[in-house]
Amino acid sequence: MINGINNGFKFMEDALNLRAYRQQVLASNIANADTPNYKARDIDFSKELQRAQGVQVGNLNLSATSSGHMQASAGTMNAQALYRAAVQPSIDGNTVDMDVERAQFADNAIHYQFTVEYLRDSFRKMQSAIAANA
């Protein structure tokens, strides 16, 4: 039962982790807007999320001193950051397009907040299901 709930949350957890990672990649693009020869990068979100679903989470190998102790698992983030196809590269070899990056940054932030809200809602639903019996 607990495992089933955990699996349901894993999708949201993966999505949230990927969103946070993408936010970081976009942040590095904006930060390097003036760096010569810097190439803008991004991840293919839907592809990476699909890939993360297939990845079997590794065991953390916690030491168990009693048969009642549970094992924990953790996934590793290995999303692939690709290079963005430049629309109008600068003469210094920089391919950061500030309009695109700002738009994607804002878009990703909204999606992150959506995922957090969705997760919060799932927690609330579970809480009310638990409390209904009391």
């Binding site: 946070a20 942040a27 983030m77 957090v116 927690f123």
Partner: protein, 136 residues
């Protein structure tokens, strides 16, 4: 945690941009300094940025670091002013190679980039705060 990396990325960029702003201020202030402690006229200083890849969980992204401050190699301005104490035999004074228009553009660009990075930090902070209050 990827979101906390945003702080170090944006922070490094803000440091770099403020250093660039410093160079601009120095160039504009010394636009007319015909001599300096070395006896030579002031040369414009330019800050060179380079990407600084983050290791570990920050792979695929990079902060900014200042690779160095170079002196502008462009030729110095020669101004005809025979009354000037530093004028040469032909009456020309060698003045700094500071291009005031270029420096003003640099200043605006640096300040906009700084604002962008400050904005980015704010967004990351909002997202982190939302995540921290997730189960409440």
């Amino acid at each position: 945690m990827s979101l906390s990396n945003v702080f170090s990325i944006a922070g490094s960029a803000m440091t770099a941009q403020s250093q660039r702003l410093n160079a601009v201020a120095s160039n504009l202030a010394n636009a007319d300094s015909a001599t300096s402690s070395t006896g030579q006229p002031y040369r414009a200083k330019q800050v060179v940025f380079s990407a600084m890849p983050l290791g570990g969980s920050g792979s695929g992204s990079a902060g900014v670091k200042v690779a160095g401050v170079i002196e502008d190699p462009s030729p110095m301005k020669r101004v005809y002013d025979p009354k000037h104490p530093l004028a040469d035999a032909q009456g020309f004074v060698t003045m700094p190679n500071v291009n005031v228009v270029e420096e003003m553009v640099n200043m605006i660009s640096a300040s906009r980039s700084y604002q962008n990075n400050a904005d980015m930090m704010n967004t990351a902070k909002t997202l982190l705060m939302k995540t921290l209050t997730l189960a409440q």
